[in-house]
């Protein structure tokens, strides 16, 4: 009798254990890996890389993208990317002492998007730099699904002056951090149009428990919505 009860208990333990494994398997998640797509250059006949480092590589057949009038400065306060259900407040960030970009720190802003405060505000000429974590100590973070962003997706940024700027993705790239093209991403060489860069981590390597890549989404301004403009 006692043995029978123990047997039932053992069976229950085994079933509960299997259930827990099932839950754990179901909870496994990994960020989508970005797929290289689109062209970085948004102005026809111009090289996207810095003029000093490489010969010009014009794209004579590249269609002229729709352009919107550049704006004056006003810092970004909110970003949404409907294609991947991102909606987040935006806060300014600086640089670390080693010259790399600072990232959102543990606390209430950890899973928000940061704007590099020495880069243009979204809508000004040149590349405005926005970044977010792919994951944090708490699990998936604000740019967890950035790898699912594709050319022609829209990125909508609201500025403090209540102007909403809409950017259209023109390229997605995955760079190894060890060979990160800083000037292409942060400077661009082509400052003639308002642009946007979205940056997060990619290429997680299990054995060293480290992301060795950065995904960069390149977008350009295509629409400006002013408050009360009908």
């Amino acid at each position: 009798m006692l043995g029978g009860r123990r047997g039932v208990l053992a069976l229950v333990a085994a079933v509960v254990g299997l259930g827990m494994i099932g839950v754990a398997v179901h909870a496994q998640q990994s960020a989508p890996q970005p797929q290289r797509a689109g062209r970085i250059a948004v102005s026809p006949g111009r090289s996207a890389s810095a003029g000093a480092s490489s010969p010009a590589a014009p794209y004579p057949t590249h269609p002229t993208p729709p352009k919107a009038t550049p704006l004056g400065p006003s810092r970004p306060v909110h970003i949404s990317i409907p294609a991947i259900d991102v909606s987040s407040r935006v806060f300014p960030l600086g640089k670390n002492p080693d010259g790399t970009l600072a990232v959102p720190q543990p606390g209430p802003r950890l899973n928000t998007v940061g704007w590099y405060k020495n880069s243009p505000t979204p809508g000004q000429l040149g590349p405005s730099i926005l970044l977010g974590h792919v994951d944090s100590v708490q699990g998936p973070s604000v740019f967890f699904r950035l790898g699912d962003v594709h050319p022609d997706d829209k990125v909508i940024v609201r500025r403090r002056d209540h102007v909403t700027v809409v950017f259209t993705v023109n390229a997605v790239r995955d760079f190894k951090k060890a060979h990160f093209p800083s000037r292409l991403v942060y400077g661009g060489g082509d400052l003639s149009t308002p642009q946007l860069r979205l940056i997060t981590c990619s290429d997680f390597v299990e054995s060293i428990h480290h992301h060795i890549g950065n995904e960069v989404v390149f977008a350009h301004l295509t629409r400006v919505r002013r408050p009360h403009a009908r």
């Binding site: 043995g3 123990r6 047997g7 208990l9 053992a10 069976l11 333990a13 085994a14 254990g17 299997l18 259930g19 827990m20 494994i21 909870a27 496994q28 990994s30 810095a50 003029g51 000093a52 480092s53 009038t69 004056g72 400065p73 640089k95 080693d98 010259g99 990232v103 590099y116 020495n118 243009p120 000004q124 000429l125 970044l131 974590h133 792919v134 994951d135 100590v137 708490q138 740019f143 760079f175 951090k177 060890a178 060979h179 990160f180 093209p181 800083s182 000037r183 292409l184 942060y186 400077g187 060489g189 400052l191 940056i199 981590c201 997680f204 390597v205 060293i208 428990h209 992301h211 060795i212």
Partner: protein
């Protein structure tokens, strides 16, 4: 048993750690770009309504400047408006606020702004001399309301030092006279007395800082590997233990019968 698994995981970790060392060393050594880059946004002052961005990349004594802006005054006396532009050096390395308007004419003129951004270190001319003496030569200034400026030239050491110490400031000059107060409209430039104040007053200003380098640490790895290890461990233990116990009970029961 436990000691054995620890030793085993150590054995697999050591070569992994060794493999990680070159990865850790690479980022500083293997940048795709050469030289040092500086950047700034060009924000309007004196109500110019313009906006832009500039980058300066220094390789040895050569500097490549890319500078774009839109929204400045387009014409001056029926001709394209010449906007002289410089890298100012030797002061605080910042752009002036309206508090710098000492004479109260509503305009921070070039001299009033000098405690903030200093004197001319380099003239961003379209051709020829790039020294301070070319600073007010409107014949080599970009003309019109917008500019797409790209030039590589030999950078003087004063400007080089200012960039390195974070005190280089790009200033683009030239306001639309009609936006000035009556008082300011009648004033002369304190740089070039033959020109009106509007011609040399600052219109865009930006403090140069070094461009970020390298990649961005935007991941912790919490979703990269196997999550909920605890759940796996406890679940696995329960399942295995329960199954083993159940099996042994069954065996004991069948032996007894």
């Amino acid at each position: 048993m436990e000691g054995h698994t620890v030793r085993k995981s150590l054995r697999t970790l050591i070569p992994l750690a060794a493999a990680a060392i070159p990865l850790a060393l690479l980022p500083t050594a293997a940048h795709a770009d050469s030289g040092t880059s500086y950047q700034t946004t060009l924000n309007p002052i004196n109500g110019s309504g313009g906006s832009g961005m500039a980058t300066v990349t220094v390789n040895g004594d050569q500097a490549t400047v890319d500078l774009n802006y839109t929204g400045l005054a387009t014409t001056f006396g029926g001709n394209p408006y010449p906007h002289v532009q410089h890298i100012h050096i030797g002061a605080d390395g910042v752009c002036p606020t309206m508090g710098a308007d000492k004479n109260g004419d509503g305009i921070v003129d070039t001299v009033e702004g000098q405690p903030s951004y200093g004197g001319i270190g380099t003239t961003l001319s379209t051709k020829g001399d790039t020294g301070p003496s070319a600073g007010t030569n409107i014949k080599v200034a970009p003309a019109g309301g917008s500019a797409d400026y790209h030039r590589t030239f030999t950078l003087n050491s004063d400007t080089m030092n200012a960039l390195q110490s974070g005190t280089g400031v790009i200033v683009v000059h030239g306001l639309d006279p009609s936006t000035l107060s009556k008082k300011a409209q009648n004033e002369k430039s304190n740089l070039v007395p033959s020109l009106p104040l509007a011609a040399t007053a600052p219109a865009l200003c930006g403090s140069l800082s070094s461009m970020p380098t390298g990649g961005v640490a935007t991941g912790y790895g919490s979703t990269g590997g196997v999550e909920d290890l605890g759940l796996f461990a406890v679940g696995g233990g329960l399942a295995a233990g329960g199954a083993a116990l159940f099996a042994s009970r069954k065996r004991a029961a069948s032996k007894a019968s």
